[in-house]
């Protein structure tokens, strides 16, 4: 299991490939399913062009929450492994923000767990987005329903 808050841009597919081949929990041939989700920054929100975004978090609390939800998912769905990365700081359109991946023997557990982790992350984890528009900035009031 790997959980990281990232202050710098990352490539989600490179991270997935590197983690999968390095993880001791993922012996080759043991997993038959990997479900993953990448959330990236759109250049428009609520009809307004967004130039950039600042992603704030509660250092210490956020990491614990992500670890807790990953452990919950592993226990509930019988996963072999989990990877969660989340950007913070200044973010630009097209930048990957969140990566959640779940590995399991069969597909049902991976699909269920990947989505459940994303919904827990969106509803609980202490991140906040502030958008920079052409005419000023605004805090995002709430997430799009899942």
């Amino acid at each position: 299991m790997k959980i990281e808050i990232r202050p710098d841009p990352y490539d989600p597919w490179e991270e997935l490939a590197a983690y999968q081949s390095a993880s001791e929990a993922l012996r080759p041939g043991s997993y038959g399913a990997c479900a993953s989700f990448v959330g990236s920054m759109r250049d428009v929100n609520e009809g307004d062009a967004v130039r950039s975004m600042f992603l704030e978090h509660y250092a210490g609390m956020t990491e614990s929450q992500l670890e807790e939800l990953a452990c919950e998912a592993i226990a509930e769905h019988g996963l072999l492994d989990v990877l969660i990365l989340h950007r913070v700081g200044e973010i630009h359109p097209d930048d990957p923000i969140v990566l959640v991946a779940a590995w399991s023997a069969h597909r049902k557990a991976a699909f269920d767990a990947c989505r459940a982790m994303m919904e827990m992350l969106k509803s609980r984890a202490t991140f906040w987005k502030k958008e920079e528009l052409a005419d000023g900035s605004r805090w995002v009031a709430q997430n799009t329903p899942g």
Binding site: L55, E56, T62, V98, R124, A125
Partner: protein, 76 residues
């Protein structure tokens, strides 16, 4: 006894501070802590954590605790 109070995101900007230490003569509830550190009515949907775990407004705060107030989360 002393606790640390913190504000995040839009709430930090509304309060005009990222937090401060608060001296307490006796244990307070989260709600009493809010009233002790701001003049504002709590915004709708305000969330609270004690020692980095979500808690309700009636929860008691003890010496050395960290109490954080923040708006709905918008990560992912």
């Amino acid at each position: 006894m002393q606790i640390q109070v913190r504000f995040f995101a839009s709430l930090r900007e509304q309060v005009g501070s990222d937090g401060r230490a608060l001296e307490m003569a006796a244990p307070l509830t989260v709600s009493e802590v809010w009233n002790a550190v701001t003049d504002m009515a709590p915004p709708a949907n305000l969330l609270c954590a004690r020692n980095r775990e979500y808690v309700g407004w009636d929860e008691t705060v003890a010496d050395g605790d960290e109490v954080a107030f923040f708006p709905p989360v918008t990560g992912g």
